[in-house]
Symmetry: C2
Subunit: 403 residues, 2 copies
């Protein structure tokens, strides 16, 4: 028997209990050791829950119960969650989480702690909700030298952008709609400013390239600066604006990771990813491009990924599975300043001035454009080179193209 | 040290040797036991190969060498490949393969044989080339009751259909082009008649639904009957014709599996899968829709999947990983006759006769249609019900819609 404790009975935690209850018999048919939910820790009371008999309030009970093998941390944040995770790992229990903040900030040390205690720390649900990506990256693509990871990592912003592109809604109106539909928080900053996508690309980059990449090493731009004018110009050149998290292997093994809106070519499968869906493109030297697509959030999809980790942890209670990466440091990353690409520019300027600054560009048109608005696609430049050329022009928007 | 032997130095086998040579150091950094290529078995001579010192001609050498732990079977077919696989498994060696014919026909017994001998039989590369699908299905989606698998499983036919749709080429011309580019065999039957897709959906269905589904239980229609007229009518209603392999969980746990061209809605991510790419959509009760996308064939992508299996086998040389399913039988499958969907029909008939037979339909138009050609989208019918209604009409094409 493998006993599981869930910490935090919020959206994901209650989903995990639900999936274990609903599909437990089917899951256990394939297990040598049956999985059983023993405790749920929450400071709140849930007298009407079907799991009412499982609730306790004190984490120490779990910490001291040698029969608990796997702890599911769905508390979120990096305070209590970190403390409980460390104590569970020190007690030799495996920990499974959907907590991207904690993994992005403390993944390296928690993986080391798990290893030192013969336990596992799994976090499939921390990126891409239910989409299998952590395990495929670490196992299925193990034969490859990975060169780039690039994805739509946040469902809220992708929903907002989709409504702007397909519904013609402004950012503010689309955000309100997302909040009304439960896709965005009342304080949407972590989503619309790119923080959530930043945490996820940190986790993917650490796993793919082998050393911890921290959120403060990843320049992050959200979608608050994307306007309907930009959406219109993007459409005029066969592209869609998407918030992309990207991590690229550069010279000397350094990782260039950043989050920013991009104009994505319609031939790129990422351009077809709409609404709250996520997709992650992985490039490897042998495999070429592989893409993983699905619901990046939501109670049951995320719970599905958590439970898959619980199953894996249950199959490996007697040993560490060696999911790990090396420590972070100043020598791990390189900023995207030198990364070359074509760019989309929207400026308040005369087209002659833009041409004088940038040479041969492709000008774009949209209906209803105000006087002195100019938009174009530039040649291929690094960010540094582009900014030098743009000095003196009044730039409204400036996004990279993704081929 | 984990010693590997490759059987068959064709496209995939030589790719495996190449990936092991190129990325071996990186792979072994993460392994407790380093992987080493010890033998390559082929009846041909390769004196100029960089692996020339590894070649032997007699499989018995491998069978009798206790130091060989993992055998890579990239011979293909179900004769020698089956014999060597059985002998390797009986000798307690794990076998890794890209051989879909063998797995689709004998997967159940070979998995049983592996288990009985404490070895593993892995076949990630048998479906979707380099796309990770077998391992995600068996591990990452383990928390789900799966309800449907549906995919573009054959790159050759997808290339031909893409060239018909985007290039306006006839089937015959597109096939010639595919042959010229090395995407189709000189005898293209296994691809264009759906045999290859059928084998792959058998493997996926067996894994997802738990009992062996044999190719002769899967009604299979290829793309030889797809014309430019059908492509044109599909475009007229915002759809693309794709060859789809499908397996659906039906009443009483029965599996309805079949292969046929479908008109795929442009909102469905499968419709955007072009050229030689493959994609597999998996539906589960918790996770919703998840899609896996990538190169479905080719030397290095396929080798990448084989080597990932070699790594997994090397990590589990002392035990069986329990990838398995139950035996096949007449009670496993149910034919698609009763499966309901909307249909696309092209007939040589008067539209009044079509209307009389099918009631309310949506007629479709295309430029250059000959007199008496009628095409339409019908209401929702089972195949049996539809065929009854169509009796007496001269039907040219009849394909299901995929929403």
């Amino acid at each position: 028997m493998v006993n599981v404790a869930i910490l935090g009975f919020g959206v994901v935690g209650s989903g995990v209990a639900e999936v274990l209850a609903k599909n437990g018999a089917q899951i256990n048919r394939k297990m040598d050791n049956a999985i059983q939910l023993k405790y749920i820790v929450d400071i709140r009371d849930f007298p009407d829950s079907p799991f009412a008999d499982k609730f306790i309030k004190d984490f120490a009970v779990i910490e001291q119960d040698p029969d608990v093998n796997v702890v599911v941390e769905t508390i979120g944040g990096a305070t209590f969650a970190k403390d409980f995770t460390e104590r569970a790992l020190r007690a030799g229990k495996s920990v499974v989480t959907s907590n991207k903040e904690l993994v992005a900030q403390h993944g390296y040390e928690l993986l080391q702690l798990a290893k030192a205690n013969g336990a596992n720390y799994f976090f499939e649900a921390s990126v891409g909700g239910g989409i299998p990506i952590i395990r495929p990256l670490s196992q299925c693509l193990a034969a490859n030298e990975l060169t780039e990871i690039c994805g739509i990592l946040n469902g809220t912003t992708n929903y907002i952008l989709t409504r702007m592109i397909k519904g013609g809604l402004s950012f503010a109106v689309a955000l309100k709609e997302a909040q009304k539909n439960g896709y965005a928080e009342q304080n949407p900053a972590a989503d619309v400013e790119g923080t959530d996508a930043c945490r996820k690309i940190c986790i993917l980059a650490s796993l793919a390239f082998g050393r911890h990449v921290y959120p403060d090493q990843v320049p992050t731009e959200g979608i608050t600066g994307v306007t309907l004018a930009d959406v219109g110009y993007a459409a005029a050149c066969g592209r869609k604006i998407k918030l992309i998290g990207r991590a690229i292997r550069r010279e000397a093994g350094k990782v260039c990771a950043y989050v920013a809106p991009h104009l994505v070519d319609e031939e790129n499968p990422l351009s077809g990813v709409e609404d709250v869906f996520n997709a992650i493109m992985v490039k490897g030297d042998a495999i070429g491009d592989v893409m993983f697509y699905g619901r990046g959030a939501g109670k049951l999809p995320t719970a599905s990924a958590v439970v898959a980790d619980v199953i894996d942890a249950a199959k490996h209670i007697t040993g560490n599975k060696c999911l790990e990466w090396g420590p972070g440091g100043d020598d791990v990353t390189t900023p995207p300043d030198a990364l070359e690409s074509a760019w989309y520019i929207r400026a308040k300027a005369a087209s002659a001035d833009v041409k004088a600054a940038l040479g041969d560009v492709s000008f774009l048109a949209r209906s209803g454009a105000p006087e002195h608005e100019v938009a174009c696609i530039t040649g291929v430049y690094s960010e540094t080179a582009l900014q030098e050329k743009l000095a003196g022009l009044e730039i409204a928007s400036c996004f990279r193209l993704l081929a």
